[in-house]
Symmetry: D2
Subunit: 264 residues, 4 copies
Amino acid sequence: DLPLTVIAGPCQLETAEHARMIAEQMAEICAAAGAGYVFKASYDKANRTSLKGRRGPGVEEGLRILDDIRSTLGVPVLTDVHTAEQCAPAAQAVDILQIPAFLCRQTDLLLAAGNTGAVVNIKKGQFLAPWDMPNVVSKVESTGNERILLTERGTSFGYNALVADMRSLPTMMQTGYPVVMDATHSVQQPGGLGGASGGQREFAPVMARAAVALGIGAVFIETHEDPDTAPSDGPNMIPLSQMRALIDGLMDFDRLAKASPIRL
Amino acid sequence: DLPLTVIAGPCQLETAEHARMIAEQMAEICAAAGAGYVFKASYDKANRTSLKGRRGPGVEEGLRILDDIRSTLGVPVLTDVHTAEQCAPAAQAVDILQIPAFLCRQTDLLLAAGNTGAVVNIKKGQFLAPWDMPNVVSKVESTGNERILLTERGTSFGYNALVADMRSLPTMMQTGYPVVMDATHSVQQPGGLGGASGGQREFAPVMARAAVALGIGAVFIETHEDPDTAPSDGPNMIPLSQMRALIDGLMDFDRLAKASPIRL
Amino acid sequence: DLPLTVIAGPCQLETAEHARMIAEQMAEICAAAGAGYVFKASYDKANRTSLKGRRGPGVEEGLRILDDIRSTLGVPVLTDVHTAEQCAPAAQAVDILQIPAFLCRQTDLLLAAGNTGAVVNIKKGQFLAPWDMPNVVSKVESTGNERILLTERGTSFGYNALVADMRSLPTMMQTGYPVVMDATHSVQQPGGLGGASGGQREFAPVMARAAVALGIGAVFIETHEDPDTAPSDGPNMIPLSQMRALIDGLMDFDRLAKASPIRL
Amino acid sequence: DLPLTVIAGPCQLETAEHARMIAEQMAEICAAAGAGYVFKASYDKANRTSLKGRRGPGVEEGLRILDDIRSTLGVPVLTDVHTAEQCAPAAQAVDILQIPAFLCRQTDLLLAAGNTGAVVNIKKGQFLAPWDMPNVVSKVESTGNERILLTERGTSFGYNALVADMRSLPTMMQTGYPVVMDATHSVQQPGGLGGASGGQREFAPVMARAAVALGIGAVFIETHEDPDTAPSDGPNMIPLSQMRALIDGLMDFDRLAKASPIRL
């Protein structure tokens, strides 16, 4: 029943300066709105649609930038890990390790992430039912780590399309762990541009608001000062200039939702 | 930007007394909450899963009961029509003619309903994309009738399952017509009980709240004092005893949503 | 275990001459290939995507053309019915009454069709699981009519898309009634062109062959000498000039499939 | 246009004796039927639904068993790899490296597999459209390795369900690489048993036959002498005792299909 946390950042790390610019602005916006804030960025986009898609600065340089954000700005940082080997070094640099949706059933990755003791944010696979997440959660819990977040990011709905099922949120809340709505990935159109994924940016605030009204713990929003030039996920990102109004609005719904929780 | 309207009733007409009991209670609950109210019941369930399912009192007796509700209680009444021939008589007895989802592309039914001059509530078919509803709307508009409501009631999602896509609501709002969320049918499990449809009643308030947060015009909820004995749709209905708390809660979200409308 | 029957025609009736031209050619092609043949055309397209879509000659003129095909060419004729009232007159003019997929759960239509004593071809709704068809079949059987065909024409798969699930065919065969694969409608893209449905004509022979290999009773193929000018369903139709090769090829698979039936 | 190859084995390696028993029987059955044969087994099930699911003998012991099958029986061997690091050692022991469906977009894994020079069998993700596979293929081709197979194993269709879309096969054939139908995984019901995946074993021969009729290069079938005691995938496996009749039947369809190829 804590106030909403906003997990936001530029999807893919570009430069240290760029990351810091976004983190600073978002931290200020969230503080002013009474929301928690976590900076999110990826050091490696390990599963781009096409080989030609940019992947980011890589694990070494990327973790250095993320560690710097955390120590200089004092905001918690989240990044996604792609192999068991990356978990320990990533957990040195960031607070939250994220398991990508495609990898949410890879047992060794879940165990390695759990073993670091860091918070583990598991994205529900596009191919997974929300009521099957307890099986995934158990893998992390088996390491003794119960600092877990669960994220809805859309479910396969025909080809090149996702649907965000609101039932998923209270279903996953039944695990007792905080639930996150990924408002920008859930409006992706996977592979929809041929060599890249499309997106329906206009629906991200819709998904965010509907989910916040259900009393979720956090909302995940990728943002960029110029989404159309972002190296990945541009079509579904929210422009940075719109984030203040969006988050201010979400906090109104968050207060109301936290005051009258939904129970299944 | 009017306050939320609640369209509610027992799904299938049983007796005049039963209908009046529900209509009276719902009218009082909605008035107390500041919500609009429309009574809904069906005189004929024309597409039951199984031939053994009860169909209701039929058009003559049913329209007499509905007309009586309207005139004695002074509440607007909605019922669904199944053939072009039923539209004119039904429009004598009720205020809103509803086009069932399976029939939402039957041109003659849409034209006949439009020609009555009554309000026409079109349920989006389980097989239809929300952005295809303007084609359906045009059929009614061609009669000169622009008193139209559009309802989301779930979309096919694999077999024996539906998903309620929140994108549908602001998409259909772009037509300029009021949009209704059918919170109880969208949690049906079509055919899920073999000879009848199942349902996930626990998720109906979830769907209602998420949709109301998006600023919809009305919410559609089937209710019964004892859903497990209702002649149809029991598994997804909300018990009448829970309606006051549900609607009170929804009105809080409605006020907030109407104060900050979502624009695509 | 009879040889494959081909149900084929121009989707929508144009003129008597056009219908006869197609029926004659198809009858000759099927006879040469050892296949059964049923002529199919619609007198009314009652659920066009858009009001602007052409609907056909209507019930009176249409039934006259169909009756003429039947009596002059001696081929059985199939047409679809849209209301209970149409069933009796249609059964005077044709051999097989087809229940459209959207209408496959409309009880009164099924009963009226059954009551004519004509063969009833029920298309499985895009929203229906194959294992739910026995509920639909029972409605027709309740009239004492057990001359029933069941047709797979694709299932909703996200928005503006269908998928043809091969499991549907042996599942429906378990009813004991002949099963039909609708190879051209199952590759439709409903609403995919905005004001009309798109289609993937190139996949119709794929669907036909896969289904015939499973030992179905009949294949349903809409055909036209110039699909791009057909008043409906052009994008998924097979050009008439390709039908001979297609059917000759299908018969090879039919003989093999009938010699080694699949049993669930 | 080579005769059909059968990729078959026990899903998860149990013991060397068990693997050899299955490989010997399958090799004999395939030789007698005129089919190619590839032995398939996994040394590690890296993404079990539940942590309690058995994972297999592990990479060292597993690769030893697989290498032994290859050298003593002279049959080509396929196994799946889960990390980039596993590719090189696996390529020492087996002929074909398989990319699991969940991992089909993990760029580093695809590159590592390609770099071994071994044949790479890429399973299309349950979340991926068949026309998006060229993007995946390009990742492997970028290593200079063009020894590629593409496998259809079902696509997400609502929750806990898959559908095998026959359009996928000719679509993937357009890449010019051999296409494989995974007849047993495509009838899985992911997570359908709560702590494990269910399956519809009865439909595996249906999928196999429909696909073979379309002229595919290979069919993938998991088999076991006692599926109900198999450590994984039992519900969708074909009993070993039924394999001879199944493959004999498929070869009839293969000969016919290869004689009249489908072209999109």
